[in-house]
């Protein structure tokens, strides 16, 4: 199985539930979102080109 097939095989079967429409466009977990925004504003997102492993920078001596 190639990577794409492996990915597709893990997509769950979904049933549409119209009652969930009430959540579209709304912030349901606001505190968590605020926390994420605060953190992302302060530290940004990881740069794939420069990100390192924690074990490389904090090796035991």
């Amino acid at each position: 199985m190639n990577t794409e097939d492996s990915f597709k095989s893990k997509i769950p079967k979904l049933t549409i539930d119209k009652s969930l429409d009430q959540y579209v466009g709304k912030v349901i977990f606001k505190e968590k979102l605020d926390l994420a925004n605060e953190m992302l504003k302060k530290y940004g997102v990881p740069n794939p080109e420069t990100v390192k492993k924690y074990s490389e920078t904090h090796s035991k001596k």
Binding site: F7, I11, P12, L14, K32, A36, Y43, G44, V45, P46
Partner: protein, 152 residues
């Protein structure tokens, strides 16, 4: 590794999912919601219980005896969500240290599988790192790997 999962329901935008946890404390309605953060293309993964008043609670630890099945169900929505939004990055943090640790263990226990499709990062001590097992991260960011067409 394949874990047992709950049947998910969703609304047409594929940003809000629900399922019913069935365990020692009965049936509990769970909601998973992806909300775009202030950083374009980065979505917060929100997850919690619907209480008896219909309000969402992402703080209570339910202890319904099915945490692995719940975690596997939540994780499966990442595949659904990023299938529709392949360029999205997902930010996740637990509502408590225990829940963040549960997320970490869920990623670590399936890391080989996850890394086939995603780049995974952990945040600790003010910096992002490439995800590794046995590091007590405070938050996570996951992004679908870009497909490379070798025939182009």
């Amino acid at each position: 590794m394949m874990y047992d999962k709950y049947q998910l329901t969703v609304e047409p935008t594929l940003m809000n999912y629900s399922f019913v946890s069935e365990g020692t404390k009965g049936k509990i309605i769970k909601l998973i919601s992806y909300t775009e953060t202030g950083v374009k293309g980065v979505y917060n993964l929100g997850f919690g219980d619907k209480d008896t008043n219909g309000k969402m609670d992402d703080v209570t630890i339910t202890n319904n005896g099915d945490s692995l099945k719940v975690l596997a169900t939540v994780a499966s929505t990442v595949y659904s969500f990023t299938n529709k939004f392949p360029n999205a990055a997902i930010y996740a943090i637990g509502s408590s240290k225990a829940r963040t640790r549960l997320y970490r263990m869920g990623i670590a226990n399936n890391l080989t599988d996850i890394l086939q499709s995603f780049d995974v990062y952990g945040f600790i001590e003010g910096e992002w790192y490439e995800f590794e097992k046995n590091v007590d991260y405070e938050a996570f960011l996951i992004k679908r790997k870009k497909l490379v067409n070798l025939f182009l």
